[in-house]
């Protein structure tokens, strides 16, 4: 597994965990009738901050663990090379395209919910959910392309 694949895997796990946290909390609020501004804003804030923080620390941790595993496997003190070549850039671009398409679908659904006279909280919750789903879809796309070749 290359450096880039490892980073994408860490990002995927992170996004899956945060999306699960968001969905579980949101559904709990919705079913218990606690879908009020204050609680929902708090949940959004937690999700956005957690996404940024966990992604940064996850990447740092993955790099440290990866460097240790590389040193143990190769039995040398020569550091692992972190080259990003043309294939990595192409895979990254294609993954980003999948993310944008998924997010666009989410924005469309959010607009539709507004047209159907749903509260603004539902609309913004759909946007937040699809921003996470877009990241997940992009990460999965990248991992599949790394396995396939491109």
């Amino acid at each position: 597994m290359s450096y880039q694949q490892r980073n994408v895997t860490v990002a995927l796990v992170t996004h899956l965990l945060i999306a699960a946290y968001f969905v579980i909390n949101w559904l709990t609020m919705y079913t218990t009738g606690g879908l009020v501004d204050k609680k929902v804003f708090g949940l959004w804030l937690t999700v956005i901050i957690a996404t940024i923080a966990v992604t940064i620390f996850g990447t740092i941790l993955a790099s440290i663990v990866g460097a240790i595993v590389h040193a143990v496997k190769t039995r040398s003190d020569k550091p692992e090379q972190f080259i990003e070549d043309e294939r990595d850039k192409l895979i990254d671009l294609k993954g980003t395209r999948v993310s944008y398409i998924t997010f666009s679908i989410g924005v469309g659904l959010a607009m539709l919910s507004f047209v159907l006279k749903q509260p603004a909280l539902i609309m913004f919750s759909i946007i937040i959910l699809f921003s996470l789903l877009a990241e997940i879809a992009g990460d999965i796309s990248k991992l599949v392309r790394y396995q396939k070749g491109v």
């Binding site: 070549d85 043309e86 294939r87 990595d88 396939k148």
Partner: protein, 75 residues
């Protein structure tokens, strides 16, 4: 019409160059080993620049490394 296909002789050329490893070739061409693996197994078609770099590593013309199957592509 089938998908255009680019074949390569990288495995043979590596063998002829003292069994050069994929890691060594990757280092000389300035890419990752995973990219060399993908090119060698015809899963990824490199850019023209990278194709020339690989040919330069083996010190052979480009058409000795890569061949494009025109017939198959336009059937």
């Amino acid at each position: 019409m089938t998908k255009p296909h680019i074949r390569n002789n990288i495995r043979k050329l590596r063998f002829n160059h003292d069994e050069m490893t994929q890691e060594e070739l990757a280092e000389k061409a300035g890419v990752t080993r995973q990219t060399i693996i993908a090119i060698e197994s015809a899963k990824y078609s490199p850019s023209l620049e990278l194709a020339f770099k690989i040919a330069a590593v083996f010190d052979v013309p480009l058409d000795e490394v890569f061949t494009y199957e025109i017939q198959e592509a336009f059937e």
